[in-house]
Assembly symmetry: C2
Homo-oligomer: 158 residues x 2
């Protein structure tokens, strides 16, 4: 398979594929007589694995460690397994954090924002959510108060 096909198949740009190869995340891909990459089934399997891990947030660094061990052969199996287990732990932790955030988001949507109608006007006032609302109210007070209105430099240099 040529780079464009692989790119489509895995939804990774050709640049990204070349980048992965360059940093050693993918093995050196074979070239044909005119120097064009020809991805084998095995290369694709590797890409599939890497893509899966990356999309879950596994760092390139960890993946590199893993594939580096791979190249060293069977004697590194235990170390490789350890890496996978470590990454599994990390993923597990992240998922727990995300679940907590989901709960919070759900609470906010279902409780705090429940009285919002379709066309964007609010139907009732609410008064039991601290978080940003209170801070925002305070901010409004501050802004309305003394001239103290710091220049609002948004989004650094552009």
């Amino acid at each position: 398979m040529k780079i464009q096909e692989v790119s489509k198949k895995f939804e990774l740009t050709a640049d990204t594929l070349r980048y992965y190869e360059r940093i050693g995340l993918l093995p050196h891909i074979g070239r044909n007589e005119s120097g064009i990459r020809e991805y084998s089934e095995e290369d694709c399997a590797a890409i599939d694995f890497i893509k899966c891990m990356r999309s879950a947030g596994v760092s390139i660094e960890s993946l590199l460690e893993y594939v580096t061990l791979f190249k060293e052969g069977d004697k590194t199996r235990a170390a490789r397994k350890a890496i996978l287990m470590e990454e599994r732990e990390k993923l597990q932790d992240k998922m727990e954090i995300m679940e907590a955030t989901m709960d919070r988001l759900n609470w906010k949507i279902e409780n705090y924002y429940k009285w919002v109608d379709d066309n964007g006007a609010e139907l009732k006032k609410q008064h039991n959510c601290a978080e940003l609302e209170a801070a925002a109210r305070q901010e409004q007070k501050r802004a309305a108060g003394p001239k103290k209105r710091a220049p609002k430099k948004t989004t650094s240099s552009k």
Copy 2:
């Protein structure tokens, strides 16, 4: 609360807190007579919310959108709700991806790496995992084979 306390409480560096304020993610924090930040309860609630969202991977851009609407008052409730719902969607999607990755990792650990003993030697050979193994084997063949390494630039002019 002074910045150092807040920093400890939420495990965010003072730099990060100042950064968040600078870009408008946090409201302008009140200062005492000598210009030192004094974080209110409301500020802390906002920080707590932001930290929670950030640690789940919600982008600063989205959070900024949200707090910007907040400053515009009640008429933006519907829009704010929409943002939260969108972020909930994104989180949900991410979690699904992560779950799939977890499954894959679990499979690999439990099947592919099951015959690794404590001290790092492998006990048995395995032969039914494509992925990187095959690619690695291929790579080893390539390395052992022809000269490989040299780029074939014949007429090179830099």
